[in-house]
């Protein structure tokens, strides 16, 4: 495909997306559900792309996403809840004297959230990154649980509001805010992956010993990857806080990590576009599949399986199918390209032809 055609395709794609967003923004009320799905998808996409940086590109199996998101979310929440609303939020014990006066605009708070997440990632990474991969998985998983229980602890009531959670977090004024911020985050990660550092990360994933022999300092690079990933995970958490408006420690359970993991696996480990695609599919898919939870009657026949909870069963079966039969995910480690898309349709077409051919031969 010629470069000019590609540019044309890109421009068309971007303008379609923009037009769609403007349309949604103008009909905010009617499409608030769709908007919320898109917002949530794109936020999860940032977390999944960040997870991909460690898990897919650097080959470190980290499962601490929920913990880092919690840090980002709480930082943003604590710093951006309007000062006048704070007394109402901290209605049980009141807020820490010092903190209660600090209010930051959203973006600095967001960056600070990412920063805290990265610092904590550094602290936990220093001991754990020297160990084998599955220990990292368990340690990070445990770490995220520690974060969660510390946040919920009554000892921190004055800061995190303990079990009561935080509310009145300013929500996005328009869909463009998360859209732009998330795109920016993903863009930065993609640029990093395509840089010399990204290649070093990939080298570590492929073969640690050989990477070391190429003069790559394993520990430093692993830590770098882990911290950057955590930074963006923290940002995703901050965005989630603003998206939800209300958070508590329960939001950041292990299931959140598993959700992100699922997105990454479905999209394909080592593929950024895969993660984005996966994020939209999983988030929207969950909503689409809601009909599984309603009783379904076909004619007079009550379909027996359809009732509450069935959706999540179907959902987990889908996950297992992906893991077992398409272990590479939708995109494998490839990235989206127009050629790829055209090729996909072509393939679909030719396969059908073959099928048709088979049938006619049969006759």
């Amino acid at each position: 495909m010629k470069k000019s055609t590609k540019t044309l395709f890109n421009i068309i794609a971007v303008s379609i997306i923009l037009a769609m967003l403007i349309f949604l923004e103008l009909n905010k009320r009617k499409y608030s559900y769709d908007i919320s799905i898109i917002e949530r998808s794109i936020i999860y996409a940032v977390a999944a792309v960040a997870m991909n940086l460690t898990n897919g590109f650097t080959g470190l199996f980290s499962l601490g996403q929920a913990g880092f998101m919690a840090i980002g979310a709480y930082t943003v929440a604590i710093l951006t809840i309007p000062v006048e609303a704070r007394a109402g939020v901290f209605y049980v014990t009141g807020m820490n004297e010092f903190l209660s006066k600090i209010e930051l605009p959203f973006i600095p708070a967001l960056l600070l959230g990412g920063f805290f997440a990265a610092v904590l990632a550094g602290l936990i990474g220093i001991p754990v990154l020297r160990l084998k991969s599955d220990y990292l998985a368990i340690a990070t998983l445990g770490f995220s649980e520690i974060i969660r229980s510390i946040i919920a602890s009554p000892q921190l009531n004055m800061i995190t509001n303990g079990s009561y959670g935080l509310k009145k977090i300013p929500r996005f004024p328009s869909i463009f805010v998360p859209m732009i911020l998330c795109s920016l985050c993903i863009l930065i990660i993609v640029m990093l992956i395509n840089s010399s550092y990204g290649r070093a990360f990939k080298a570590i994933r492929e073969d640690e010993t050989a990477a070391e022999a190429m003069g790559i300092n394993l520990f430093r690079h692993k830590l770098t990857s882990f911290m950057i990933s955590s930074f963006f995970t923290g940002i995703a958490g901050g965005l989630l806080a603003s998206y939800m408006g209300t958070i508590d420690s329960g939001t950041f359970k292990i299931t959140l990590t598993y959700d992100i993991l699922l997105i990454m696996v479905l999209g394909g480990m080592g593929s950024v576009t895969g993660s984005i695609l996966g994020s939209f599919l999983v988030t929207a898919g969950r909503e689409w599949l809601r009909f599984f939870d309603q009783p379904l009657t076909l004619g007079s026949w009550q379909v027996p399986l359809f009732r509450t909870g069935f959706r999540m069963v179907v959902f987990s079966i889908l996950l297992m199918i992906v893991v077992l039969f398409y272990s590479k995910g939708l995109m494998g480690s490839k990235e989206f390209s127009w050629e790829g898309l055209l090729g996909f349709f072509k393939n679909l077409f030719t396969r059908k032809q073959k099928l048709n051919g088979g049938v006619s031969n049969g006759k």
Binding site: N55, F61, I124, P127, V128, L131, S133, D134, Y135, A137, I138, A139, L141, G142, F143, E145, I146, S149, I150, A152, S153, P154, Q155, T209, I254, Y258, L261, V265, M269, R307, T308, G309, F310, M312, V313, F315, S316, I317, L319, M320, V323, L324, S327
Partner: protein
């Protein structure tokens, strides 16, 4: 803290530790052979709990218990066959993700079939009889758990060291291929390992739920994770290690709660893990693995 309170806490801790130990052994055995963190192990334990609720509704306990144990074993083997066997030559990460997937599936399936509402765990006769020793008071299962655990650990160690299948398990855990050319059927050994692991999860489930009296679809996930940590503490692959790890966790957690730090009782588990990984990455009884370049 008075002596009576202290002793009461000890009883609680040891009993909890015993149940943890039984589950931890399942992890350690599976990890030893497949190098797989079987995230679904805790959920299997939860499923065993539900099985007991339903079988005990229709059968007397002496029939129900074997049915539950057999059922758990069968489910464990089926999980291995469907979700892990096809991935045996796949990268480690894929198998781990598959395990997480199974865990999610079991939880969601349980929610779907039995609703999220907790179900009362039926009382198995004799187990819940309450005994009073002066100021101490505990049910029979509290005493039974640690004793049974130790007995089972002893049996397991004997089985692994003295029997033919145990020898095969040790061989497979060291070297698949060489084990295979000894004529050992890898698949059977792996299935057997899962069977034993599941059996212990089943027994652990009876003791644990009898003590805690209710089952919900998520009652397996956190104990599951903790027990994996117990296995790591003891040195993954080592059965007595897993037992000791289980007891350390159970007692530690109990006393933490007793001292008013219940917020940190879960955190404790994982802090212990990280500290252990720093100080002795191979765990208390783990063997050193050297990598060849």
């Amino acid at each position: 803290m008075s002596l009576a309170t202290f002793l009461q806490h000890c009883l609680t801790g040891i009993s909890l530790g015993g149940a943890y130990a039984l589950i931890a052994i399942g992890y350690t055995m599976v990890y030893g052979i497949l190098r797989l963190i079987n995230f679904a192990h805790g959920d299997l334990f939860m499923i065993a709990g539900y099985l007991m609720i339903f079988t005990l509704a229709d059968f007397p306990w002496y029939i129900a218990i074997p049915i539950v144990l057999i059922g758990t074993v069968v489910i464990g083997i089926v999980i291995e066959r469907l979700a892990y066997k096809p991935l045996r030559s796949a990268p480690r990460m894929s198998i781990m993700i598959s395990a997480i997937g199974v865990s999610l599936l079991l939880q969601n399936l349980a929610t779907y079939l039995f609703t999220a509402l907790p179900r009362g765990y039926p009382e198995i006769p004799y187990l819940k009889r309450i005994y009073q020793f002066g100021p101490l008071s505990a049910s029979f299962v509290t005493f039974l758990t640690p004793i049974l655990t130790m007995a089972l650990v002893f049996l397991m160690v004997m089985m692994i060291n003295k029997t033919k299948i145990g020898m095969a398990m040790r061989a497979v855990s060291k070297d698949y291929e060489t084990a295979e050319i000894m004529g050992i059927k890898i698949n059977s050994v792996v299935s057997f390992t899962f069977a034993i692991g599941s059996l212990l999860a089943g027994i652990g489930s009876i003791l644990y739920f009898t003590d805690r009296m209710s089952v919900n679809p998520f009652s397996g996930s956190l104990p599951g994770l903790k027990c994996f940590v117990a296995a790591v503490l003891g040195g993954i692959g080592s059965i007595p290690g897993a037992m000791i790890g289980g007891f350390i966790l159970g007692i530690g957690e109990t006393f933490l709660v007793a001292l008013g730090f219940s917020t940190f009782s879960d955190a404790f588990t994982f802090i212990l893990l990280i500290v252990m990984l720093l100080v002795k990455p191979t765990g208390l009884f783990g063997e050193k693995a050297t990598e060849k370049v």
